[in-house]
Symmetry: C2
Subunit: 377 residues, 2 copies
């Protein structure tokens, strides 16, 4: 058995009321640390020390699986989107407890990426072993050096989030997202599907994300205002399209975990196929509208729920003020390219969950019934 010992000093709350809010504030640094020495402003190459996958290996791969649980699964959903977009390799993202029992189609042409903060998640580790048995190449994205998934995988990508103590994951998630972007850039450059020009655009935007995240964390008042007004609701809906849909799922999970509100995320275009039946003034709707090319469609979807009486808080990029006409409250975010918005949009959703849980008097860092790492099946 390999024991991982955290520095006791690092585990202190450092003046914050809860570990969760401390860890939310640590995100600019965590994101920066996860990029350091891997993406550099003056280099057209991604440097990944623990990844030995060669161009030849990659040319032999025709399918990527990303397998994870909970929050890490939501990071994987973003990973699917960006790897398909930048490297044009088909990616399937799956929940570990489902994947391992469904006899997935895998062979030596498969690359399986597991994502686990602790690196000890039981179902994820079991999925990794299934994949190795089938001859697949396995890559681990984890926050713990020397963890089981790190030791058993062929390639490892460490997120440098530092120890995460709060049960509800925040900085582990955002650094997992950074891992997904870096891997997508790496694979896209390796197989030649991503041009140097596009690479540079994304690289340059990534390098300024830490300061944008910092700015978002400072803007607490609007989320506290939302919490003051809406903390008594029993149900909420999160809606979004494309990448916003994946972040909606993470936002809803965060609220479920620490405030015990029944929050559910739905792809906005699916509302008309059922869920809109139950929307009324008692179910606040959290709407993400950060994708420029889907902005008009989201405004229409928001109108649909407003017509049914819902109170809406929207999240949009600075300048997209049209959204105010269909929203009770709008939280604006610094502009970035569409593909990178998840890193920004999840921040106010974390804060929203935090303030709602605090005002409801919940035990934010240790929600009932949950463990930090699920090391049993």
């Amino acid at each position: 058995i390999f024991h991982v010992t955290w520095d006791a000093q690092a585990a202190e709350k450092g003046g914050y009321e809860h570990f969760m809010i401390k860890e939310i504030h640590e995100q600019p640094k965590a994101i920066k640390d996860t990029m350091t020495s891997r993406i550099m402003s003056d280099s057209d190459e991604i440097v990944l020390d623990d990844i030995k996958l060669t161009k030849e290996d990659l040319d032999n791969i025709n399918k990527v699986f990303i397998v994870a649980c909970g929050t890490a699964y939501h990071a994987g959903m973003v990973g699917k989107y960006v790897i398909e977009k930048l490297a044009r390799i088909p990616v399937e993202v799956d929940i570990a407890s489902e994947f391992r029992y469904r006899n997935p189609i895998m062979d030596e042409k498969t690359l399986l990426i597991v994502v686990s903060q602790s690196g000890e998640t039981a179902d994820t580790l079991a999925a990794l072993r299934e994949a190795k048995k089938a001859g697949a190449r396995v890559m681990a994205v984890t926050n713990v050096v020397g963890s089981s998934v790190a030791r058993e995988a062929d390639d490892v990508f460490y997120t440098w989030a530092g120890p995460e103590i709060a049960v509800a994951s925040t900085k582990a998630y955002t650094t997992q997202l950074i891992a997904m972007y870096i891997l997508a850039l790496y694979l896209g450059r390796l197989n030649g599907k991503l041009s140097v020009e596009e690479f540079r655009t994304i690289r340059d935007e990534m390098l300024v994300l830490p300061e944008k995240v910092e700015k978002l964390i400072q803007n607490k008042e609007e989320l506290q205002k939302f919490a003051d007004k809406n903390h008594m609701h029993r149900d909420m809906f999160y809606i979004g399209r494309g990448l916003d849909g994946s972040v909606s799922l993470e936002g809803a999970l965060k609220l479920k975990e620490i405030s015990y509100i029944h929050a559910e995320a739905y792809p906005a275009g699916e509302l008309k196929h059922g869920p809109i039946a139950l929307i009324d003034q008692d179910i606040p709707v959290i709407a993400l509208a950060t994708q420029e090319e889907l902005f008009e469609k989201m405004v229409s979807n928001i109108k649909e729920v407003v017509t049914r009486g819902a109170k809406v808080i929207s999240f949009a990029l600075e300048g997209n003020t049209d959204i105010e006409q269909v929203s009770d409250q709008v939280v604006y975010m610094p502009r970035t390219i569409s593909i990178l918005t998840p890193i920004l949009s999840v921040i106010p959703l974390q804060l929203l969950s935090y303030y709602v849980a605090v005002i409801r008097g919940c035990d934010v860092d240790k929600p009932k019934n949950l463990a930090k790492s699920v090391t049993v099946e």
Copy 2:
């Protein structure tokens, strides 16, 4: 414009209080009609008149997409499972309003299957057109002869459910499931991945499904009992693993649509990664445990929610009485092979939604805010 006219006679309620309960009762016949002349007890071949896909065509296909909305999307999830299992072709199932905007990886080696009861669903039709533009072969599964998707697809599979009037789909869903099984058998035999022996086992079991469905429909008392006890709850959870997970999603959607209860489905293995935090005595849990190889794992998952105070109604195969120890109520179903259970397990879930909606005084056939076919984006 092509007009579809239903026989006015066929649209009458025929003694039933609502179209929905009438259509639930029509399922044995609808399932039988959808199998007739396609699967025959004395034949090892599947006969599909409107499908021209040859063995050569299929050998050229390396990826299947199933694209749909709402209930049809849930049928597609089962389709993914069975096509991958019987024909060993990788299948990705996607929501039409997401698929069409995410630049999916498609080419002339792709088979895209759209599923739409009306054949006029706007997002689904748009996805079909995107796929054709990319050179993919397109197959339509629809209930309406001459509908837009039927006219524009290369191959068509008609479900013979007859006119469906209630907004909440029941017999269209079960016949879409039958379509998925028949297509999976067809593809598996065509590419040789499915042995004659396995084909015969599934064929013979399918042919006796109508009488098993009939038996399930007669067993209303237990579901009325559940409705009597639980109709006042605002939130419910549906849990299951594997195929049961897909049926859980359909069950939850049905309850959302017609009773306005906030029902959410979750893969049972994911509960520990967040949602279990909000489980308590006010959130009844509907547990599906029909998959023999996952039965013990489901019993453990049910124990987890019972420990948190949840009242549980479970659905299991006859004889699996161990589940009574962890359930407040158990509904048993006739035994069949694991792969076919969705056809049976959805029936009591339809009835459960129906009786809950009736006792809540909801307008069952015309839920607020919903249209039968979503022909706008």
